[in-house]
Symmetry: C2
Subunit: 359 residues, 2 copies
């Protein structure tokens, strides 16, 4: 079936969707809309869209319209497109929260199907400069259809988005917002509170080791983007914060009253649950084994590790510098596809007098 | 001045201290004590100690005694050594909390100086197998002298420990415990609570992206080790949890009552404070610049990156795989010493048709 797609907003997500559809040989035309004419031209140049157009004429013939702008632009966009949008078309978006979007979509004429969308993907480089046809590969992509959306409509959008390599997950919009509050928005605010609890005291910060840096990394994100996300999911975040506060109050009471058995149970429970989190890297690279090695610090050492393992046809699928020391090398973690490769890698490295072991 | 050192407990920290002292040509004898005779022999074999001995005779002539066992063993060790320890000697330890240790040290005879110690260093491999003469290089090493400890005694211990490459920081024991509660113990419990707030729901965990994994990484640590740490710093942790709970309650109220300006101020404050955290890696490698590149997934690609940059004599000082895609490569961050090298690295990579840019 031919599917004409219109992408409104050619930033990182919009342009990457276009590239991914083209890459998968979409049968249909992709029209791009952006306020910035240079961005439209760049999107054509990199092959993310077939052509640009003004908002209204871009949506007239579209089968699927994907809004990839900030939420703040939605009311104006919807007001402009609703008189001209064709019956039977699908409108979706790519925002981080879904209940508010679904409410905004209610103004669309009947016969137009609204399905919220949230691809869980991002990149280092923002805007069209970061556009990447593989951005959604293996990413979870949540769709939140309305209750009256026919099965075949959801299926049509799912099929289009599956072309990007994303894994579609259908959820109710309100449930989606609760879940992302739990795994994203509340942890964000917890990181903010943990950092602010140091009051910026230099003595305190000097003692902050890797654990604190990991735990609070997200508190370095852009506050202006985050305030929008928090505002659009207020009720779910409030409920999530109340749950977190209750759990922390329980832990405080357990510590104060010596309920150490309960405290230990909580620590074990968290460790067990955490092991259930799907490991994206491990999912992508099944059977992945870690080799730890201690190497000297000299130009080309990382190339040398690659060469040593390459000679034995062992692929390095992941690499991480665990610790570095000025002038004296460091500890490196190498991911290899399986245990047999891990054992061969250790032998190969030891032949070069590099201390190595399988973790 | 000749300094005879006795290390009690030859695990990761004890054996690494011995190696570091020997590596720095300590003028004095290092005697090691461990319940496991095989560990003592291994410590001699790797050159971490000069000889082993029984607890009592090992401390008789020691100038500095470093207790590197779990806290639970301290009462028995102190009871055994206090009748034989020589006047003027220094006793220290390497535990994670300090007020309780300082209380235990009070039973030592007058004329023996007790100074708590907390090296902020760890390693992947536990026990003597992980022993590493560079473990403390550039690590913060906190010392907590008693109020009546003479300056020259603190200086003598500082000088010994500085041989390991550690950066000594003198703190009051109670203050140390408050600070580590803030940057380590409370964040640990917050991570536990965040994970437990998911209730292990698979739908929730499926949406957990990199941010959640970073924030909760420490919740995967060994619960049995952590319960000991929590027990030994109960009061400071309770106070820290109360501060955190109050901050979270403030955020909840701000969200509920639409105090969005205050909320945004909190996000900015956290970002600003977080930028003040000393970056260990960046401290070690001043001027460090990140180059991002997108590479195909094939055996030897990491070696190839090393070779391409090695040809231009550009040293890779840090490397991280930001994203991988099955069968299609990924995004890699390469740290190089300075901006000039970063620009040359981008040119070199682009000559090989690898998409790269300086972040």
């Amino acid at each position: 079936m031919k599917t004409d797609v219109t992408i409104i907003g050619l930033g990182l997500i919009g342009a990457s969707l276009g590239l991914a559809f083209k890459n998968a040989n979409l049968n249909g035309t992709i029209i791009g809309v952006d306020n910035d004419q240079q961005v439209v031209e760049k999107a054509i140049a990199i092959g993310a869209i077939d052509r640009g157009d003004s908002l209204k004429s871009a949506v007239v013939a579209a089968d699927i319209i994907i809004i990839c702008t900030p939420l703040a632009a939605f009311p104006e966009i919807l007001a402009k497109i609703k008189p001209v949008i064709k019956s039977g078309s699908i409108v979706t978006d790519v925002g981080s929260t879904k209940a508010e979007v679904m409410r905004l979509f209610e103004q669309l004429p009947s016969g137009v199907w609204a399905i919220g969308g949230h691809p869980m993907a991002g990149a280092e480089l923002k805007g069209i400069r970061g556009a990447d046809s593989y951005l959604f590969e293996n990413a979870v992509y949540v769709l939140t259809p309305g209750q009256d959306t026919p099965e075949h409509i959801v299926k049509r959008l799912s099929q289009l988005l599956t072309m990007t390599g994303a894994r579609i997950q259908i959820l109710d919009a309100a449930l989606h917002d609760q879940l992302v509050a739990t795994v994203s928005h509340v942890p964000h605010l917890a990181a903010v509170a943990l950092v602010n609890s140091t009051e910026g005291n230099p003595d305190t910060l000097r003692l902050a080791a890797g654990g604190f840096r990991d735990t609070t990394r997200i508190a370095s994100s852009n506050p202006d983007l985050w305030i929008d996300i928090l505002q659009s999911n207020r009720q779910s975040i409030i409920a999530g914060l109340e749950t977190l506060t209750k759990l922390l109050t329980d832990l405080t009471r357990q510590l104060a009253s010596g309920e150490d058995k309960k405290l230990l149970e909580g620590l074990y429970r968290a460790r067990d649950i955490r092991e259930m989190i799907p490991q994206v890297k491990k999912g992508l690279l099944p059977g992945f084994v870690d080799v730890i090695c201690i190497v000297p610090d000299r130009p080309g050492i990382i190339g040398e590790l690659g060469r040593i393992l390459g000679e034995d046809h062992i692929n390095i699928v992941d690499i991480e510098i665990l610790r570095v020391r000025e002038g004296d090398g460091g500890t490196i973690r190498l991911g290899v596809p399986n245990l047999a490769d891990g054992i061969r890698a250790v032998e190969a490295l030891q032949n070069y007098e590099i201390k190595a072991w399988v973790r």
